[in-house]
């Protein structure tokens, strides 16, 4: 379980907030979507979870442990991290990209390769064809599948995803969303998913947290948000989803 208590992040010496006084609870096994427009603070929250950004105030607990007291590197390796930029290393082939963290943990080469192959299958890429290729030889969709595979290499309990499908075309995006749902159901991973796309949020999210200007507007399932939106902003957001679905 992830718990945020009165978390804030300020910049310009505390004059401005990028997120303000956020308290959230994320249950195990659920997919928790943070939605908002750019600058709403959704990515800031995500990055505070693996300490890429440290909060200016408040506390974050993961499975009851205050993450300030956890080793940064260990914390990050225990969570998967996928982001829009993918960030596959062009100097390593696909197998090396996926198993990098294992290799740093002194895993044998054979083991690394087997795990990479297994994970490629998980994300629907044929291992024999992809293991030895380099990132520049892959399409955008394929690259992001590898990005997801890489995030899963340590069998993480938590998977942090920062607009992972934002740069993909509609067809690839749909396909990857479907696969993510299957993956989650199979691996029982807790996913924190950042997006600005309300349809994506509806499709994936068990819980949806609506962010606006650094503040938390409302948290709930899509149905809860649509039946009783806490304010006009949430209402308009839900309506836009319903309209575009027509």
């Amino acid at each position: 379980m992830i718990e945020l208590i009165n978390v804030s992040k300020t910049y310009d010496n505390g004059l401005n907030y990028s997120v303000r006084d956020i308290s959230l609870q994320l249950a195990d096994g659920e997919t928790f979507v943070l939605i908002g427009s750019s600058g709403s603070g959704k990515t800031t929250i995500l990055k505070m979870l693996n300490r890429l950004i440290s909060p200016s105030g408040g506390e974050i607990y993961i499975d009851g442990k205050n993450i300030r007291e956890l080793d940064k590197v260990k914390l990050r390796r225990s969570m998967g991290y996928v982001f829009q930029g993918v960030g596959l290393f062009p100097n390593m082939n696909i197998s090396e990209n996926i198993s990098l963290i294992m290799k740093l943990g002194d895993a044998k080469k054979k083991l690394c390769r087997d795990k990479s192959a297994e994970l490629l299958e998980t994300v629907n890429l044929e291992p024999g064809k992809y293991l030895d290729r380099f990132p520049c030889e892959l399409s955008g969709g394929e690259q992001q599948r590898v990005g997801v595979a890489r995030a899963l290499v340590n069998n993480p309990k938590y998977l942090l995803m920062d607009e992972p499908f934002g740069a993909l075309d509609a067809i690839n995006r749909d396909a990857l969303q479907e696969e993510l749902i299957r993956l989650r159901d199979r691996l029982n991973t807790t996913i924190v998913f950042v997006t600005h796309d309300i349809l994506e949020a509806k499709k994936l999210g068990d819980q949806i947290a609506v962010m606006h200007s650094g503040e938390l507007m409302q948290v709930g399932s899509f149905d809860e948000l649509s039946t009783c939106p806490s304010n006009n902003f949430v209402k308009r957001l839900i309506e836009s989803a319903q309209q575009s679905q027509l």
Partner: protein, 503 residues
């Protein structure tokens, strides 16, 4: 040809070692300034300033600290190589896409792992481009290493300038240019070859092998250098020095042959040690054991004496001063005097009726070509001004070798020449009579370290064999043989010693 190969070898050695040192210092330095931005401006600025110091000046600064030879040359070359390497590595690391950094951080790479596995590999093309620039640059600068006795292709250039031989100059310059181009090509190929993704998994071992072997190669080079230095310094070796002009090479060769033939000492020659202060430092430090010097040069250049004296008195004051202050011994004069003199073309001598230096004011626009020392040393320029009331409209600092050419081509109308120079004869020049003794006496004699004489007493009698044995006519003839007829200094020196029955 054999010598050419050796010089090319020395040149490559200088370049490889200095660039390797610059890489070892430069890349960590670049990493530090990417991590600590406050240091960036200062560090890059400081290295940039170092780069602007003229290479000869930098080499000269290092003589008192590190002596002559390979060490000061390597230090100066490493400093010159530093800027392109640090700057490129810094820019390369800074330009690693932020996606890569975010991915590395998000995955939980430590700062060191991120540097080693992501930032350095991705910055590699830029880093190598910097190494490439540094290598080409240092091939050029390394030709100046000859100036401090570090060898290399600059030896040919220096010698060519000294004896006014364009072939010799080209013999140094062309291989240096070819070397620079080949290094450029080689590193370029290397750059392509290590490009990420350019080759597959299988060749990784090969890459490692090549890296390891080139590393071993550099280490080997370095080891070879240390061993050869130690070997030289441990045996019974006398190091004979010389300045960078032909007569000095000739005298150095004579001394070397004499010692080799008549004693069981080994001889190492360190020729081409340019300015007086430089070779003097080298002698005082013990980098060389002896070299031929001229009394007048020491009198003004080292003693900084201005008082006019006769030849004998100058010799004795110099001898006394050296003995007391530097523990160096002036042997008895060799017999000839290499006086500074002013020379003009026969044509202008006739045109203006020039015979004595005091006639010079008749020339409408006086433009003189002279070595850099001319202006600095009180016995030259100031003495002329004071004694003859001369005023030069233009003073062109140039290498002695170039001055003759400049005069022949009417670029200047008077040059500072040397009274023993064979080229006076070759270019059919007129030496103006120093009718008011504006230049002090310049008796040639060997200066030697007392410690060396104590260590090898047999040297004493050998060196003294030359005293009083080389007349003005002798030296002018010998200089003519080498400089104008282009014969090798060694041959001419040996012939002379045989003729005199000294070997």
């Amino acid at each position: 040809m054999n010598e050419l190969l050796i010089k090319i070898g020395e040149q490559i050695y200088l370049v490889i070692i200095s660039v390797s040192v610059a890489i070892l210092i430069g890349i960590p330095l670049a990493v530090v300034i990417t991590r600590c931005k406050k240091l960036e401006k200062f560090t890059l600025g400081f290295i940039g300033v170092l780069q602007t110091i003229p290479s000869l000046a930098m080499l000269a600064f290092f003589i008192p600290l590190f002596g002559i030879g390979v060490v000061p040359a390597l230090i100066a070359l490493s400093i010159y190589s530093l800027l392109p390497i640090v700057r490129n590595a810094y820019i390369g690391i800074l330009n690693v896409p932020s996606d890569m950094i975010e991915a590395a951080n998000g995955m939980g790479l430590t700062s060191w792992q991120r540097l080693r596995l992501v930032e350095i590999p991705l910055a590699m093309p830029t880093i190598i481009a910097g190494v490439r620039t540094a290598a080409i640059l240092s091939v050029g600068v390394a030709t100046l290493a000859a100036f401090v006795g570090a060898g290399g292709l600059g030896d040919f250039i220096n010698r060519g300038l000294a004896v006014n031989d364009n072939h010799l100059i080209l013999m140094g310059a062309i291989p240096a240019a070819i070397l620079a181009l080949s290094l450029d090509g080689l590193i370029g190929a290397f750059e392509k070859w290590i490009k990420p993704g350019a080759s597959k998994q299988g060749s990784k071992k090969n890459k490692l092998l090549i890296f390891a072997s080139s590393f071993l190669f550099v280490v080997g080079l370095f080891g070879w250098f240390v061993i050869s230095e130690v070997k030289y310094n441990s045996g019974k070796v006398v190091v004979v020095g010389s300045k960078n002009f032909s007569e000095q090479y000739l005298l150095a060769d004579m001394i070397a042959i004499l010692i080799k033939e008549n004693t069981d000492l080994k001889v190492q020659k360190k020729l081409n040690l340019g300015a007086t202060s430089l070779i003097h430092q080298a002698l005082v430090r013990g980098d060389i054991d002896l070299y031929p010097e001229y009394t007048g040069t020491a009198y003004s250049g080292i003693l900084h004496a201005k008082q006019k004296k006769g030849a004998r008195q100058i010799y004795y004051s110099v001898k006394k001063f050296y003995q007391k202050k530097y523990d160096l011994l002036w042997l008895k004069p060799l017999g000839f005097e290499n006086k500074a003199a002013l020379a003009v073309t026969r044509k202008s001598a006739n045109q203006y009726g020039l015979r004595n230096i005091s006639d010079l004011p008749k020339v409408p626009r006086l433009s003189i070509g002279a070595p850099a020392e001319f202006v600095e040393r009180p016995d030259s320029y100031l003495s002329l001004v004071n004694t003859y009331g001369l005023k030069f409209d233009e003073i062109n600092q140039m290498d002695p070798g170039l001055a003759y050419e400049a005069l022949a081509n009417n670029k200047v109308n008077v040059i500072m020449a040397f009274s023993t120079d064979g080229r006076v004869k070759k270019f059919n020049l007129v030496l103006l009579d120093d009718n008011r003794n504006g230049f002090p006496a310049y008796q040639a004699a060997i200066v030697v370290r007392n410690q060396t004489l104590k260590k090898y007493p047999e040297l004493n009698s050998e060196l003294n064999k030359l005293s009083g044995n080389i007349s003005d006519e002798d030296i002018m003839e010998l200089n003519y043989e080498t400089d104008v007829l282009g014969r090798s200094h060694k041959d001419v020196a040996r012939e002379f010693l045989l003729k005199k029955g000294l070997i």
